[in-house]
Assembly symmetry: C2
Homo-oligomer: 190 residues x 2
Amino acid sequence: MSSVSRRDELLDLVTDHVLEHGLIGLTLRPVAAAIGTSDRMLLYHFGSRDDLVTAVVTRTEERAIAAVDALPPADGVRAGVNRLWEAYQRDPMHGCLDVYVQAAATGLIGQEPYRSAVLEANERWVRALRDYLVRCGAPADRVGRIVMLVDSSLFGFQLDLATDRPGELARGVDDLAAAAQALGSETMRS
Amino acid sequence: MSSVSRRDELLDLVTDHVLEHGLIGLTLRPVAAAIGTSDRMLLYHFGSRDDLVTAVVTRTEERAIAAVDALPPADGVRAGVNRLWEAYQRDPMHGCLDVYVQAAATGLIGQEPYRSAVLEANERWVRALRDYLVRCGAPADRVGRIVMLVDSSLFGFQLDLATDRPGELARGVDDLAAAAQALGSETMRS
DNA sequence: AGGGTTGTGTAGCAGTCGCTACATCGCCAA
DNA sequence: TTGGCGATGTAGCGACTGCTACACAACCCT
C-alpha cells in the first residue's frame, strides 16, 4: 500500500527540515508548509505531534548509525576516536547528533516522549559505537568501558561545539582518545 | 530603590520554578501563577521573555559557580574530578547544570538569546572549574588543557545521566579523572 | 499640596498551537 | 455500477502565546 511509503517520504522531509531548523520548538504548520503539505496530513500519517517527534528522533538516529557503520575503521582506538570526532563534525552526523542532543536535553526533566525516545535511541547508538571501536581494534573485554567513556565525553564535546573553538576542542578530543587507547592497552590499575 | 530588589526576588522565584519544570517550553503565565504574580509583572520587571530567559540562565550559572567555589578541594586532579562529579549529581548543581544543558541545546542551532547567554556563561564556568582544579593541585601550565577535557566530558556525562545508570557512569567518570590526572603529571607525548 | 515616577491589577489584542469535524476526491473490488 | 476505503482540502474549535493599553494607588521630590 502507498500509505506506508508516503509516511516514510514525509518523515524524511520533516527530518531534513528539523536538521536545519532544530527539534526544539518544532510545530506542525511551519514544517508542513515548508515540505509542501499541511498539518492535517502530518496528523493523519503520524497520529499526533508527539508521535511525529518520536519518529524524527528515531530517523535521525538511524542516519547517524548508518554513518558510523559506513565509517572506515582506523588503526587503533586513539585513531578511531579521532576519526569518530571528525565524522561528528561533518554532515550527516553533525546535524543528527544536534537533534539527538536537543531531544536528550528536553528529556532531561522527564518530558515525554523525548525521554523514552532518547532512551531507546541511546541503546542502539552505543551498540553502533562499540562495533566501530571493535573494528578499530579495541579489545572485546574492555570495549564496554571504553565506549562508556568515549560516548558520554564526545556528546559533551558536541555540546561545546557551539561555544568553543573547534581547534581547541580537537586537542581535548585527542586527549580523550589517548585515554581511551590506554584503557584498552594498559594494565588496569583498579 | 526597591524595584531592583523586587526584580531580584522574582528572578530567584522564577529560577526555582525553572529548576523544577525545565527551561525548554517556559512560558510566562504558568510560572507567574506558580510564584504568585502575573505575566504582566514579569514583563514589567524583565522587559521581555527573552530577557527573562537570559536572566534565569545567568542566575542558575551563578548558583552553580558558587557551588563549585564552595567545594572543598580534593587531593590531586583525579580525586578532584571525582568530587566534581559527585557535586554534579547533587543539588544545587544538578538542577543548574540541567538548565545549562537545556539552554546550550537550544542554542546549538543558533537560536537567540540562548546561544549568547550560554556563550557568556560558559566562559565564566570554565574559569570556575579551572580555579577549583588548581586548588586540587593541577599544575598551572597544564590546567587549561585539563579543563578543556574535563569540562566538555562531564557535560556529556550529565547528558547521559538521564539514560544510563549512575553506577556505570561513575566508572566512566573515574576513567576520565585518571586521564585528567595523567595529563597533569605525565610527560606530554605530543 | 501637588506633580511625577514606580509598581500593580484588569482586560484584551492578534497570533499560534494541536487537533478535529466534515466534505470530497480517486481508486479498487464485488 | 456501486460501495467502501485511503488520502486530502477546508474550516474551525478552544486554549494558549507574548505583549500592551489603560487605570489606579502609593510613594518621593519640590
